[in-house]
Subunit: 460 residues, 4 copies
């Protein structure tokens, strides 16, 4: 579609930007920027003016450093909020009208008084070709700057609310990503993969092979930007090792024989969409799509990290003795190499494990399995951060209706796996028949669905 | 995309609907519907529950008659609004915090207290495959019912605000509609055309011929539903007669030679999007697209009706004598057929014209041209409804930056044309060089851009 | 894709065409056309020259009347065939080389000597945007002109052979046609439907409803031109009346419950592709597609006309007495209205039926059912034209592996149905398990697969 | 599209293939394969049989080694050619009929007698999903085996002729390839690039940047297989160094300012399409497309290798003294490093250049420029292989209407560039105004279009 009007506008904008000085924000008075924001807020002018202003402001913004951006956003937050006095008047009218026929108009009037010009300013960017992405990135900035000015929090709430409306799951499109997808899109996967780094194009190709599936949500206005994506392996068993899953040299499995789908990596890509939730829809739609293509699939499970397990374990010395029995300790001591400091009690283990590349010593590692697995079960079932599960991945899957099925020892032997969770990984299972009740129970009372073995393992 | 989860939900819903009674609303207590709305408002359950509830409610709604729908919507409006006491508390906190660092959190808290569950209920329909269309149609109902319950006005404002966010012009796609478009889409044009009825598929095909263009805005979630569309004729003169434009037997003009684009029909199709404005973007984007394809185009104009001209003229007897000179009157009297009542003054003309098929009498019609044209010029330049231009089409184009260019006599000789405007039509011209200032002047002070001839014509 | 080179060529061509005289063919010497054909045959020049010449010749051709076109094609056929003397030399070399290592080069050389410039001329049209369609239409002309010049038969064989290569079934694409297909395409169905006329857009829409399917083969270079299409009704019984099938007011059947697919209309659209066979692939691919979407479908059958039944019956007076028993005759006589000529024997029936609107007389019609059905069975099983089945539709379906399943009386009550087959229609059944053997048996020995009832009915 | 019938067929085929022995070809009698070929040739059976046989034969073929494949193809070539006696009879009839009305039928009959079953066998593979690609690859095999059996030459001619019909340029689609093209397609570019190796995905991305273009021809039945592709750089000068063009770290040029398009790499990808020419269409269509997008482009040129220059020069000792003047020689002698063998005459230079990494010695390289350039000019203008230009790249561009514009010294400093052409490259220029006459002159009399400087340089 031709953008003649807009292009003309942009040309004028560029001229302005090339002219010396007035748009500078850093350290100087806001000058013309504040005027432009005021024009934005008032909404004067036709479409061309709107686009010109939006383009001018967005170009300015993109040329600013963090200090400049903070000033820019603070200006919007502070100068274009609702007017407390108008709010007070509208509120008085409203309360006076409660119970009468006037209540409803008064309610709308109060709502209108609360409506700030901040949002009007921000949504004007949506008229630009890349406007939605610009706003999502601007929100990412905003989240980084929150501590610099309390007013920014207000702006953030308003923007989050608008983004939630725009990114309503009804507007998102689930797409399969394959080796026939545009390279420009696949490149984004490499860039965004947050769980198990994609090391090369051949690593990527392997993850899109015929025994794999990859799905992402897209927004119609951000066509080459996956919002969240999940990588799936089709297998005939509950996967217990992520390096095996990602091995480029492993033979390709005949997907038609698969009975199990393993979600082994889920990545959110847009920090600016924090609080806008769509991840829980993703997995269910993916399950539906997989079932249609592979009617034999009956098990849907993850192979997930426990990103905070080690951090928690190191901060909970009292948890270790509960997880390691005396027999465990005795076995470990026997396996300890002579050059290592002897351990007196389970409480010493945290230090030992942090000092030592213990996983490379097969026998030592074997001696630790029982205790570490019990510790992890306890972590998953009991560790809390405020009222929530301590582990963010657990929070996501449990809130989504999954069940903790199995803990896998030495399942992620990468450096990162060791640092996060002593190499342990967990399978969450999505069982269509129990998902809904799990969701209810977890959201109502925080009740966690877990296999009996896990539950037993977590007990003293 | 498979909708297995949803489909399963819908099946359960159908069973419920087939069971006797409990969902009936008409004349009976709301029963299960209110419970469902309550569940919606609280947001309990996972995605499946949400979809099931939404599907159940939307099927119920669609089976209700107008009374049932009013009750349904009133229930939402009355029972799920904000709580006045919580609002009062949040407002007190806010006012107390003004000026302090706490102001911003307090503002967000007040906003939250104002947020009603109504919207939460409504937006859950968006999870359904046709959810957006359902909500747009529901708003159309709401607008029809506004007088039945003052609370509905509140609900309407909230829904309008959400639809405005969703139908932000940044999300709309301009598409050309051609004879190669899907028949299912073209059928909608026939159904929605609001200005000059499309009488048959061959009439439609003629409007999509090589010397014509048709454009529409679409929303990504309503793919076969044009939101607004415009029909364009490519010509080499300012068109002055709509029947000539629509003549299926007229020879096809070589569009490559065109210097003028005539927008001869613009139709809004969704009553439920009243107040959500995108029409003003449409024409500018269409101009850009036409210019790219036909670089010789220099004139962009409409051939528009004056839908309220006659109604206004009949209500303004004092306007006629100003428009018709004595010479005009004398000429008219001479042309009057003997069987007609004689006219004493211009004030009698309204009655004469309403009684008589005067347009068929060529000489009589000619004698009336001067006066009727002056009357129409006066109407366009001076008639007001409150602070706004009396004519809705004029309001649209003037607010959009166009200029009143020319009045065309006997330009719409259909029955409708006679009833609306004594057969007159008007050309509004879009001149890229003056659009922006026209928009500004019109929105600032209601100043109307018009050609000198029109201006002169409107004077006494 | 830009066609700059070509467009430039076309402009020069138009100039030539506008210049007086030299391209005229009618009644005048061929002049420049023959020169151009000679240039074509020699292949001189680059791509631009080729396209220019092709465009010039194709425009010339399209402006000629039938006489001109015949001359044009005769010129190609006569002047650009192989040279008999070169062929003689190459043939002598070939025969001399048989059995030696030289045989193979000699064979290629003979083939080359046989290769005429005719095809080189014709295939150059393929470089034009609509070139394939142009050649298909040119062949349609050729077929009409065959009797005018024996040389055209040679040209026709060469062109048929090339079109067979181009329209190899491997290049054809099966597409579903729905109400969401382009109107420009649907219009072609209305135009091309050869069996049961499509009377209006609403008739068409009814044939594309949710209990119907329509499929067509397309060639990649003729994207909006269906080559052959079939209309299918999804039902739960073997349809026995075509007017019922086409009734726009009949309720829509729930296709998910269908166990039977009725192919009720199959139309070839391109006369220029006579002898290029793809119809037999169509039905099998359609069956595969239907089975995938409706796993419950088990019966695939046609409801087909017997286009030549009446013509045959009227030419075979001796067949009637074999079909009508004395009891039949007696019944018929009783039902004859008094004003009609009495009938002495079955041989009189043909005259009676042609004189009389007998189908409107319910009782008379009932009395004729037994005999007419037997006559039709005999026609299908025994009537021959040379070695082939007399009925072209039977030939198609039997050659395709179908079985004659049932004769339906009063199944097509239109005027055309009466004229073709006394209103009878037939169901051919496609049973995947027997298709292949039926094809074999029919092509080997002309053996016809038919249900026992039909077989019995055809006996004396 | 469902392939139910076919899939069923394939299953039966697999069973056959799994059964021991009979399909083995290597060293054993052909057994069942010959029977299958015979069935193919006779065309018995319906579509299912055809596909089954084709699938069975293609699977068999693909499992054979080169010896097996040769036997397979020889069987087709020898056993299924035309029957010499039938040909003799048909030829006699034809010659007898020449001049009579019967000539034309007799011609068709002779043609029919010449038509071998070989092609019928081969084209049946086209019914398979990947059939076209299979045949193209089979032809590539055939070309490799030509020397093994003279009969294969006959088969090759027939297959080439059919492929020429199928790959008629009218059926090919020009597509732009960008970074947004499917990765599976881009991977093919990496694999097929024949001129300047693509070293990595980032090298590839650089070649698809905003100052580059890449185009390919595709056949509708081989959608992910580029048949030929060209890489273009947009610049503002005639490029003289390919390493500079391919430098990933070079700044991106603003393509809107470009006046010159450099075709710096053209690769044919399918050896099986040898003799099927479409390369000459490619560049002209690309020129048209570029001109539409960049109206400022006025120069279209290549930066091409001289792949056989060095081989020719080394075989032509007498050419060197003509290219190197005494002054040249003196200069070279002065620049020779002391450790090198002294040179007596220009004839020694070939040996010197082959022994020495002379290009790395800036001064020595400079002293050689004059002579090597003259030698290359002479090579391009005079070297012949039979009647054709010695250089295949020159043959392609000159036959295509280009002009030799400039020789570039040290233009390809890669090892390959040194080995092929002492690092020289050449610009061919495509000037739309002279292309057609160049094509004519070159094809008529071998006349070579070259800039004056080149022409002068080639003289003694």
């Amino acid at each position: 579609m031709s953008e003649g009007f807009v292009v003309r506008g942009l040309r004028r904008v560029r001229k302005l930007l090339e002219s010396p000085g007035p748009l500078e924000l850093e350290g100087k008075p806001l000058g013309r920027v504040r005027d432009l924001l005021r024009e934005c807020a008032s909404g004067v002018g036709g479409e061309v003016s709107v686009r010109q202003r939006a383009a001018l402001l967005s170009e300015t913004y993109q040329h600013l450093n963090d200090d400049g951006r903070t000033t820019f956003l603070s200006t919007i937050a502070n100068d274009f909020g609702p007017d407390p006095q108008s709010v007070a008047r509208a509120h008085a009218d409203y309360q006076a009208a409660v119970g009468s026929d006037q209540q409803w108009t008064a309610e709308s009037a109060l709502r209108k008084a609360m409506r700030s010009s901040r949002l009007r300013i921000l949504t004007q960017f949506n008229a630009l070709p890349q406007g939605v992405k610009f706003l999502v990135d601007l929100r990412a900035d905003l989240l980084r700057f929150l501590d610099k000015d309390p007013a920014l929090r207000s702006l953030d709430r308003e923007l989050e609310s608008r983004l939630s409306a725009w990114f309503d799951v009804g507007f998102l499109e689930l797409q399969r990503i394959t080796w026939s997808s545009p390279a420009a899109l696949l490149e984004k996967l490499i860039q965004y993969e947050a769980v198990h780094e994609i090391r090369s194009w051949s690593d990527l190709k392997n993850r899109l092979d015929s025994d794999r599936r990859c799905y992402a949500f897209f927004h119609p206005r951000m066509p080459m930007e996956p919002l969240i994506f999940v990588e799936v392996a089709l297998t005939e068993h509950l996967a217990d090792n992520v390096q095996a899953l990602l091995d480029e040299h492993a033979p390709v499995f005949d997907a038609q024989r698969a009975n199990t789908a393993i979600f082994y990596s889920i990545s959110n890509t847009q920090p600016g969409l924090r609080g806008v939730s769509f991840g829980n829809f993703l997995l269910k739609r993916v399950v539906d799509d997989l079932k249609r293509d592979y009617p034999k699939l009956t098990n849907f499970a993850t192979l997930s990290p426990l990103p905070n397990f080690r951090r928690w374990a190191e901060s909970q010395p009292e948890a270790w003795p509960k997880a390691f029995t005396d027999a465990d300790l005795a076995k470990i001591k026997r396996r300890l190499p002579p050059e290592m400091a002897p351990i007196a009690s389970a409480a010493d283990l945290a230090a030992l494990l942090s000092a030592q590349n213990w996983a490379a010593d097969e026998q030592l590692a074997a001696s630790l399995q029982h205790g570490l697995t019990r510790l992890a079960a306890r972590y998953l079932l009991t560790a809390r951060k405020g009222e929530q599960a301590y582990d963010p991945v657990a929070r996501f899957h449990l809130g989504n209706g999954a069940r903790i099925e199995r803990l896998n020892y030495l399942a992620d032997t990468s450096a990162r796996g060791g640092q996060q969770s002593y190499g342990l990984m967990v399978n969450y299972v999505y069982d269509p028949d129990t998902i809904e009740e799990n969701v209810e129970a977890f959201s109502r009372s925080g009740e966690i669905a877990a296999a009996t073995a896990i539950r037993r393992s977590a007990r003293d």
